[in-house]
Symmetry: C2
DNA sequence: ATAATATATGAGCATCTATTCATATGTTTA
DNA sequence: TAAACATATGAATAGATGCTCATATATTAT
C-alpha cells in the first residue's frame, strides 16, 4: 500500500510518509492566514521597530521624543511609525503640531515576553 | 527648568519631553537584547518558515515530507531548516539517509497564537 | 502673510534575503 | 565498488527593505 504514491517533486518519494503529510496538511491554517502571520512578524523583525514598541510599552511619545530616544533621523522614525500604524500596532493622537503615538494592541507585549523567554534559552 | 535641555538632533527640542524620554530609556532592555529579539522575529517573518513551524506543531517530519507538503524544492526547504536550526527553533534526528525535524521550543506556539489573535483584529 | 517648527512622504541607494541551480556529502542497496 | 537516493551547501540572482536626502504638509507664533 506504500507503492501507489504519486511521485512528488525532487524526492523519489516511495519513502515520503503520505499519512503524515496528509494529517499535517489538514491541520494547516489557510495560506492567507499564514501569509498574514509572517507579515506581522516581519514588522517585529527590525531593531528600530522593536525599540519603538518597547518604548511605547512605557509611555505615549511624540515623534520628537522617539527620535531623541533612538538617536535616528526624524525621517527614519516617521517611516517606521507608518509601518507600525499600517500593522495596527500603534495609534496616534494629534495635539497641535505634535503627534503622539501609543500602543494599539494587547498582544504585542505577550508576544515580546515569549520571544524574550526564548532567547534567554 | 525646561530651558536647559540639550539640543537633540533634528528636533529643535525645547518641546521634547525629557522626563518621558528618560523614564522610557530606563525601562528599555539592553540593546543586545532588543537586537536578538528582532533577529528572532525575523525568523518568523517568512511564509515558508512559518509554514514549516506550523507543520511541525502537528508532527515530526523528514525533509522530503516537508518538501512535498510545501511544494517547494528540496534545496529551498533545506536552507530554511538551517535558519530554524540556527535559531534553536527546531531539532533533528537522523535515521538512515533521512533526517527528521521536530520543534525544539515551547514558546513558538504561544507566540503564533498571540500573532493569530492580533491579525483577526 | 511669513517664519518657524513637527511630522509625513517620495525617490534613490545600499544592504539583506529567499530562491534556484549545481554540486557535495553521506547512507543504503545491488 | 558502483548506483541510487536523501539531505546539505555554495554561488548567483531577483526582489524586498531601511535609511538618507529633499521636500511637502500642517500647525503655531510673529
Amino acid at each position: 500500500m506504500e507503492n501507489e504514491h504519486d511521485v512528488i517533486e525532487h524526492c523519489r518519494a516511495i519513502v515520503v510518509h503520505e499519512d503524515v503529510v496528509n494529517k499535517v496538511r489538514q491541520k494547516m491554517p489557510a495560506d492567507e492566514c499564514l501569509f498574514d502571520l509572517a507579515e506581522l512578524f516581519k514588522v517585529f523583525g527590525d531593531t528600530t521597530r522593536v525599540k519603538i514598541l518597547f518604548a511605547l510599552f512605557t509611555a505615549e511619545m511624540c515623534v520628537c521624543d522617539i527620535t531623541a530616544l533612538l538617536g535616528l533621523t526624524q525621517s527614519a522614525v516617521s517611516h517606521q511609525l507608518r509601518v507600525l500604524k499600517q500593522a495596527k500596532l500603534v495609534k496616534y493622537r494629534k495635539e497641535g503640531k505634535m503627534v503622539y503615538y501609543s500602543l494599539d494592541d494587547e498582544h504585542v507585549k505577550k508576544i515580546f515576553d515569549q520571544g524574550l523567554a526564548h532567547i534567554s534559552h
